[in-house]
Amino acid sequence: MIAIGWCYADASPLEPCATDKVGNVAVVYVSKNSARDARARALAQLSAVKMLDPFLPLSPKRYMSLNEARALAADRSEDILARLRSLSGRVQISAHVTWSNPDQACSTVASGRDWLANRCARIGALQHRVEIWSRTLFHAIDVPQSSIVKEVLGPESARFDALVRQSSACDMMEGIAVSARDLRNTLPGQVTVSGVWPGYSFSSLDMCAS
C-alpha cells in the first residue's frame, strides 16, 4: 500500500483510495498498482481531492509506504492538522508562464565586479518581471498577492500557484486566462493555466512549524 496524503480521521473516501486512522488524522493510500509512478500517484490524488475535504497531498515524486506515512502522522499530527485546516475548502490553480528575454544576451564584462553587478541587475529585472506577471494575471480574481506562491523556474519562465475556494476554482482559472489573453501586446508570453490541483504548493509541513 502506498501513501498519497492525509485527511481527517472521520473521512471516508471511495475507490481507488482508502484510509488508515492514526489518532485525529488518517493516511490516504492506494494499491501499488495505482501508484506505480509519480503521474499515477498524482492521478490518484486528483480522485482524493474530489472526495476528501481537506486533503493534504504527499509530493507525488515521493514514494512513501503506508507504514512510513503512519509514522509521520503519529510524529507530526499537530502540523498535519494545522495544514489540513488551512486547506479546508480550497484547491490549487496554477499558471505557468514562459517569455523571451531580449536582455538575456550577456555583454562582455571587463572584471569580476562588473560581472557581479551585471548578474545582480539581471536578477533584479527577472524578479520585477515575475512581480508584473503575478499582478497582471491575478488582478481580475479575488486572490491577495500574499496567497500566491511565485516560483522562478529559469531566466524565461515562472510558475504562479494560488490557493482558491474549490467552488470558484474553474471561474478563477477562466479569469486568469482572460487576463492573459489581454496581454498580447503588452506582456507577451506563453501562459498555461492548469487546475484544479491538490494544494501542492501549500502543503509544506515545515511552513507549519515556522
Binding site: A42, L46, K61, T192, S194, S203, S204, L205
Partner: protein
C-alpha cells in the same frame, strides 16, 4: 506576433488532461508541480570555531533504498 516577436499564447487545461498529456510544454508544467506537496526538509550547518562555513538544505525522502530503486525502474 507581438512587440518582441515572441509568440503569445494562452492555454487552459484540466489537471487530469495535463497529467495524461505527452505535449512537451504540459510535461514541463506537470514535472515542476509534482515536486511539491509534503516534503520533509532538513538543514545542516557545518561550523568551525563558531563560524558558519557550509549550509546544506536537504529534501528527506522517507523510503528504503530498495523501494526507491524499484520505483525508479518502473516504466513511466
Amino acid at each position: 506576433m507581438n512587440l518582441s516577436g515572441h509568440e503569445h499564447s494562452v492555454q487552459m487545461v484540466s489537471a487530469s488532461d495535463a497529467l495524461l498529456s505527452s505535449d512537451h510544454r504540459l510535461v514541463d508544467v506537470v514535472d515542476h508541480l509534482l515536486d511539491k506537496g509534503v516534503v520533509l526538509r532538513g538543514e545542516l550547518w557545518l561550523t568551525v570555531a563558531d563560524v558558519d562555513l557550509v549550509f546544506l538544505g536537504l529534501d528527506l525522502v522517507l523510503a528504503s533504498p530498495d523501494r526507491m530503486r524499484a520505483d525508479r525502474d518502473r516504466p513511466v
